[in-house]
Amino acid sequence: MKPARLLTIAALLAPRARRAEWLDEWHSELWYVQERSARTDWEVLRFCLGAFVDAWWVRRAEPSDERWIGSPAFCLVVMLAVAAAAAVPFAKLVLHGGASTMIVNSRGFALNEGLILLSAFAVLLSLALLGQGRFIEESHLYNRWARLREGMFLAVKLLLAWSIVFCGTCDAAICFGAVAIRPHTAMVGHVLFFRWVMSDQRRRCPVCLRPLASVCQVGEASRTFLERYGSESGCARGHGVMFTPAVVTNYTATVWRDATIPDSPLSR
């Protein structure tokens, strides 16, 4: 593929408003790479692949204030659509008796499901993944209403994740005739999906529940021993900054701070 075409494809990742200027800059730089240096095709290709990283960075750094795609409602709608897509075949199977090989009696089935869920939570607990969403807050915006909203959002996501895994694994088990291994696949599915739910929650602003942007590294391990070392990301709407330590110790913690606190990077 021609390098210029690769840049055009990478440009699709950049936000529409900045795409033309972004592409102009990369085309200009490509000219210098090709004309002013004896670079091999592989080096030119490597240069063009960097455009994807840059375009993605520009996309992530763009304030997501007006973007429907970053909203909590969009996340729930997508999950709901996936859950519906998994539930419809399952409902059809139940109505036509196709699920009878799996559901011998409803009480036993419910008990099995409970045990699968408990096992999945035990795995998540042992891997310390359930605590992922926790942070210390120094914010007046993160009030009782914000906590309630955040908790409800998490609960709905967990419920949808459970229904996607439950219906999806039932569909797959019946379609592929692998009913015996369904509990195992369901448990793995629950662990992976719940892990995603927790990490997605962490990547969102606790106040407006939109994805945090402008992730940047703070400090360097070898030079900032006992100082701030980790990553920081901010809410595009200015609700605050989340500092996540790179190494979790008893004196470091994930902290959510108001953007208006004087020491906060967003208030500088």
Partner: protein, 105 residues
């Protein structure tokens, strides 16, 4: 309250140092530092977003007269100069890595 000195990563400090040395557009920054494009350009955007550098397209007439595409030049802002001074204290080898003022290629 006194403002804390901005702490930059070594890569960001290196890019600032190169811009300070007079190498002022993307390709030459990449060429001088030896860093890949996927590191240099996001670093430039981040530094610009933080107000440490500013970019400016050169006049099209200049580019046309030299029969080449327009360049996007990068310059240090006053905040960028302060951040660079702090980084030079933090990374003393930085000045040696990009010592003399070079002219744009």
């Amino acid at each position: 309250m006194a403002q804390a000195e901005p702490k930059l990563t070594h890569t960001s400090a290196l890019v600032l140092q190169v811009i300070h040395s007079g190498v002022v557009y993307g390709y030459t920054i990449m060429d001088t530092t030896g860093l890949p494009s996927g590191t240099v350009y996001p670093a430039l955007r981040r530094l610009e977003q933080e107000g440490l550098i500013r970019s400016e397209w050169e006049k099209s007439t200049v580019a046309e007269s030299e029969q080449r595409p327009q360049r996007k030049y990068y310059k240090l802002t006053p905040d960028g100069r302060k951040a660079l001074a702090a980084s030079q204290k933090r990374y003393p080898l930085l000045v040696r890595l990009v010592p003399a003022r070079q002219s744009g290629v």
